[in-house]
Structure formats: structure tokens, C-alpha cells
């Protein structure tokens, strides 16, 4: 049973080359295998989450080499939750890609999609910082291919920006890893957590620099201001299903911040004291404000959604940067909500494209399938703007509640509330321009009626909205589980003990050396 933990990485890693090699010219076979793979992943992720739900920490030593010398995968509550979220999200994204024929507009969509899932799953499961870097690269290189899927000049140009920005991010990540290794002599997170506390107060310059560099890298991934510049263009120009899948990629950055800065550079550690409150919190508040202002300022629907992603990441980061157990609960709850809402909005953007010349927020003739599309947009906009009754509202309440005790509570409350208002205005302006003003606009007489999007596309988006609704209805059990996750995060001793004390192949010195 212990081998199941490596399955979320191995399964897509085997499926992707199979799709490339064996089913290269048969889109039908590719679709079947891709969907079957993702369904199997959901099953495995559910199993892992169940296994971890009682607080068990499962360790997988690759090649049976014990940590800190070997590479380990670790499944605790947080990582299995993220794995499950990724698997569920990718099912709906895949259904949409199939329904809207996006997967057939270029080659190798399904193979790249599987590689992307492999990278994301690995990043969530690994217990080693260098391994985290490797999985970041796996998910990035797959995302480069997906980003420019189906080609086009605008997409390629946005792709160049995206790739270059991420290459700089990867270089920075390597600098951070080198600095950490030079200071602590290990890159295993559990081992690092123990060694960082041993560094004397007089020799902390190196480890401080390393901690800040690492935070910068994860902030690039999470698109925190001022490191968010890669996001609007690339998410807006990426194919819609790809942009929807990318909704989980910003969360990889948030996950890495939570993981590293609760376990390795914990909130009580003197070395990195003030890093969150002095630097991360203002940056998070600024990205929340800029994101929501961007919603109001955007002239294209796809840019609007991209800025909504920045804003909602800002909200997640505000909650994270408080680094109290209650704020982590709020951050996790909002993170799940924001992933689903952002993915739904990107898919709806693509639905709106049906029958429109472009995505400019101007009154144009009624789009094909306007009724269901506008209903879905309404629901997703409510969720993203954080209005009741959907989970965005509950998430925001949790964040505000967690900020109540903080010294910067006034700033947080002010920014969150005002930016929510701006977001509401921005979304209602966009929605009324797109769907209501369209009624008053006459189309050309001889225009061909556009075909409405396929049923499967609506099923995929509807499924995401239903998940958001379920996240709202079952907010009680969800927050209880997030509380359990937060408890586990703020008590890293069992994690560290599991990783370091499980014997491996060469734990006992053998004779003959």
C-alpha cells in the first residue's frame, strides 16, 4: 500500500509518453487514455487523502535510501488535499478541452497535460527542496508547451515573456538552494528544519539571504506584487483550458510558502523574524488591491480574469502572511475556492468567445449560447468577487476574522473590503456590457449564426460551479479539515520524525567497508 503515494507522479509520467508514442495520430484514443488517467488519479488522490485524514504521515523513500541522503516523498494532510484538488480540477479542465475541441487545435495537448499534472503532483508531494526545484521545472516545461498550444503570434509573444520570466525565477531558485546548502549542508526539508535552529545567532547572514531568495522564488510563482508581471499576458493569451489548469500553478507557490515557512523557517524562528509581517503582508495587500483594480480597468475579458487571479492570490497571501493557525485555515479554504473560481472564469471566458470577434468589453451582438453562459458567468463572478452566498464570501470572512487580532488589522480590513467593492463593480460592468448591452446591439444582417459551445463544455464549467457550491454548503466540515491541516502544520515534529527516523537501505552501517 505504501507505494500508492508515488502513483500520482508515476501514472501521468507513464501515460504521457504512451500518448505520444502509441496514440500520436488518434485524438480519440488520446482522449480516452487522458480522461481514464485523470479519473484514476482522482481515485488515488482520494485514497491518499483518506489515509492522511487521521493525521498519518506517509513516507516514501525512493530507492529505499533513507532521508536526508535519499529523496523522499511525504504525504500529509496538506499535500494530499492539494493533490486531490489538482486531480479534480484537471478532470473538469480536460472535459472542457475535449468538449471545446481545444485539444485538437495543436498537437500533443494530452501528453503535455499529463506531464503538467506530473510536475504539479510531484511539487506537492516532495519532501526535498531540490526535488521541488526539479518538479517545478517539469511543470514549467510542460506549461511552456501548453501555453503556446495552437500557436498564433500573440500567444507566442506572451509565451516568450512567460518562459523568460520563469527562467529567471528558476535561476533565482538555484541561487537560493545553493545558499541554503552552503549554510546548512542539506536540502531535505525535515533535516533543514532541525539544522536551521542550530545556526548561531552571529552567523545568520547567509541563511537570511537564502530565506529571502526562496520567498522571492515562491512569490514569483504565486504572482505576488511586484513579481506578478508575467501573469496577465500569459494567462490571457494561453488557451482557455490551459489557463484554467494554470489556476493551480499559482497555488503551487502558495503551497510552497506555507510548507517551507511553517516547517523550515517557522514563524517563531529568530532568523527570519519579521519576514512575513514586514515584507510579505504589504506585498500581498498591494497585489490584492492591484488585482481588483485591474478587474475594473481591464478592457478585455481575458485580462479581467487574469487580474482576478492576481487579486485572489493576494487574498490568499494576506491570510498566509499573518502566519497564525487561524489565518492558515482561512488561506487554505480560500485557496481551494480561488482555484475553482479562477478555473471556471477562464473556461467561461472561452464560452463567451463563441460568436464574438474578440473579447473586448464592448457591446457586440448576442453570443451563441448566451443564456447558459451568462448564468455561469453570473455565478462565477459572484464567487470570485466574494459576494454571498458562495464560498468566496465565507473565505473572505475567515480571512477578516483571522486578521482581527493582528496589529495591521485596519489595513487588512480596509483593503479587503474596499477591493471587494471594486471587484463587484468591475464584474458587474463586464457582465452587463457582455450580456445585457448585447441585446440592444444589432448584428450584421447576413452574419452566419455561430454554433453554440458543445454540451460537454457546459458540463465542465457547471461541474466547477457545483464544486464551488459544495465548498460553500460543506464549509463546516471543510473548515474542520483545514483546522486539522493547520494543526499538523504548526506541529511539524511528527513530520520531521517520520522523515528522519524511518530506516532505509543503508541506515545500519554494514560490514565490509
Amino acid at each position: 500500500m505504501i507505494h500508492w503515494i508515488v502513483a500520482p507522479v508515476i501514472l501521468p509520467a507513464l501515460l504521457a509518453p504512451f500518448i505520444v508514442l502509441a496514440a500520436r495520430y488518434h485524438i480519440g484514443i488520446q482522449r480516452v487514455f487522458s480522461v481514464a488517467g485523470v479519473l484514476a488519479l482522482i481515485g488515488i488522490a482520494l485514497g491518499l487523502a483518506l489515509q492522511a485524514s487521521d493525521g498519518t504521515i506517509t513516507l516514501y523513500q525512493l530507492g529505499d535510501w533513507a532521508a536526508p541522503f535519499g529523496i523522499v516523498l511525504v504525504a500529509d494532510r496538506l499535500s494530499t488535499l492539494m493533490v486531490l484538488l489538482t486531480a479534480v480540477l484537471s478532470l473538469f479542465v480536460l472535459l472542457y478541452a475535449i468538449g471545446s475541441e481545444w485539444d485538437n487545435r495543436g498537437r500533443h495537448f494530452h501528453a503535455l497535460f499529463q506531464f503538467q499534472i506530473m510536475g504539479i503532483m510531484g511539487a506537492f508531494l516532495t519532501g526535498d527542496l531540490f526535488n521541488l526545484f526539479v518538479f517545478f521545472e517539469v511543470l514549467l516545461i510542460a506549461s511552456y508547451g501548453l501555453m503556446i498550444h495552437a500557436g498564433g503570434n500573440a500567444r507566442l509573444r506572451a509565451g516568450v515573456q512567460y518562459v523568460l520570466f520563469n527562467l529567471i525565477g528558476s535561476t533565482l531558485f538555484l541561487f537560493a538552494l545553493g545558499a541554503i546548502y552552503a549554510e546548512a549542508g542539506t536540502l531535505n526539508m525535515a533535516d533543514l528544519a532541525q539544522r536551521v535552529t542550530l545556526i548561531g545567532a552571529e552567523a545568520t547572514a547567509g541563511i537570511r539571504i537564502a530565506a529571502v531568495l526562496l520567498l522571492l522564488v515562491f512569490a514569483i510563482k504565486a504572482a505576488v506584487l511586484p513579481l506578478h508581471f508575467w501573469l496577465p499576458s500569459s494567462y490571457a493569451e494561453a488557451p482557455a483550458p490551459v489557463a484554467a489548469l494554470f489556476a493551480i500553478m499559482t497555488k503551487v507557490g502558495a503551497y510552497a510558502i506555507i510548507r517551507v515557512y511553517t516547517m523550515v523557517f517557522g514563524p517563531d524562528l529568530a532568523v527570519t523574524e519579521g519576514l512575513h509581517t514586514t515584507w510579505l503582508l504589504p506585498a500581498a495587500l498591494a497585489s490584492l488591491a492591484i488585482g481588483m483594480l485591474g478587474i475594473l480597468a481591464a478592457r478585455h475579458l481575458d485580462r479581467l480574469v487574469a487580474f482576478a487571479v492576481i487579486g485572489s492570490m493576494g487574498m490568499v497571501m494576506v491570510a498566509i502572511s499573518l502566519f497564525t493557525p487561524t489565518s492558515i485555515i482561512a488561506a487554505l479554504y480560500y485557496m481551494v475556492h480561488s482555484t475553482l473560481a479562477a478555473a471556471a472564469l477562464f473556461l467561461i471566458t472561452d464560452l463567451v468567445r463563441a460568436g464574438r470577434a474578440d473579447l473586448r468589453l464592448t457591446a457586440q451582438p448576442v453570443i451563441a449560447g448566451a443564456v447558459p453562459t451568462s448564468a455561469l458567468f453570473f455565478a462565477a463572478a459572484i464567487a470570485m468577487a466574494g459576494l454571498p452566498p458562495l464560498s468566496g464570501f465565507l473565505g473572505k470572512l475567515l480571512v477578516l476574522d483571522a486578521a482581527f487580532e493582528s496589529t495591521s488589522a485596519a489595513w487588512i480590513w480596509g483593503t479587503v473590503l474596499i477591493s471587494s467593492l471594486i471587484a463587484v463593480v468591475g464584474f458587474s460592468r463586464a457582465g452587463s456590457t457582455l450580456f445585457w448591452k448585447a441585446k440592444a446591439t444589432e448584428g450584421a444582417e447576413d452574419a452566419e449564426p455561430a454554433t453554440p459551445p458543445a454540451m460537454l463544455s457546459y458540463v465542465a464549467v457547471g461541474g466547477l460551479i457545483a464544486l464551488i457550491a459544495a465548498h460553500t454548503v460543506f464549509a463546516g466540515p471543510a473548515t474542520r479539515y483545514m483546522t486539522a491541516i493547520s494543526d499538523q502544520l504548526f506541529d511539524p515534529e511528527p513530520y520531521i520524525a517520520t522523515v528522519l527516523e524511518t530506516p532505509g537501505k543503508l541506515s545500519e552501517p554494514t560490514e565490509g567497508y
Partner: protein, 118 residues
């Protein structure tokens, strides 16, 4: 030797940073290559600079060369090599498609979001 390695890393990083701040793809790609060289040397030296020391810890040996950074560097070299190849291909595609190798967003507001440039 420390001074030599450290200043080499510094010079490479400085040149790389300068080039990545340019607006055309070619200097930026060159700059990123320089940055990756810098980080490779940096990673290599993160296991301390030792000369003539065995890479394996054995009995009766006081100083040994840390083999882990060398493994890390190998991984980093392979990844950065592949990434550079990818970015060259994408940049070439973008340049051939729009006859322009600037990497900032096109100024023309009409062109963004509509799927076509100029």
C-alpha cells in the same frame, strides 16, 4: 582561489542581469545563459572549494570533497540547457511570426487579446 571564483560569479551575474533587462529577445536569452553559468559555478562552490580531496568519506580521511553539489550542478546544467533550447525556439517562432523580437507587450491596444498582432 575563493576571490577568483567569487568575482567570476559576481561578474557573470552582473552581466547576466544587465542583459536580461534589455528589451530584445536575443540579449535577454544571452543574459539568462550567463545567469545560469553563474548559478552553476555558485552551486558548485556551495560545497566548499577543496583541491585534491577524495569525493567519498572514508576512514582516516579528514577532508573530502562534497559530491552532492556536483550532482546538483549536473541536474541544473541539463535543465538550463533544455530550457534555453525551448526559449530559443519559442522566441524564434514569435520573431518569425510577427517580425519583431521585442519582449514587452505590444503597445497597440487593438492587438492584445484578439489573437493577432499588427
Amino acid at each position: 582561489m575563493e576571490l577568483l571564483v567569487a568575482s567570476a560569479i559576481g561578474v557573470l551575474t552582473a552581466c547576466g542581469l544587465y542583459l536580461t533587462l534589455r528589451l530584445r529577445t536575443f540579449p535577454v536569452i544571452l543574459g539568462i545563459s550567463l545567469l545560469t553559468y553563474a548559478v552553476n559555478v555558485f552551486l558548485f562552490s556551495s560545497g566548499r572549494l577543496t583541491i585534491g580531496a577524495p569525493p567519498i568519506l572514508r576512514d582516516n580521511i579528514d577532508s573530502y570533497a562534497d559530491p552532492l553539489p556536483q550532482a546538483l550542478v549536473l541536474t541544473a546544467i541539463v535543465i538550463s540547457f533544455g530550457m534555453t533550447a525551448v526559449v530559443v525556439m519559442i522566441a524564434l517562432g514569435a520573431f518569425l511570426g510577427s517580425d519583431d523580437d521585442r519582449i514587452n507587450d505590444p503597445l497597440d491596444e487593438e492587438s492584445t487579446g484578439s489573437g493577432e498582432t499588427q
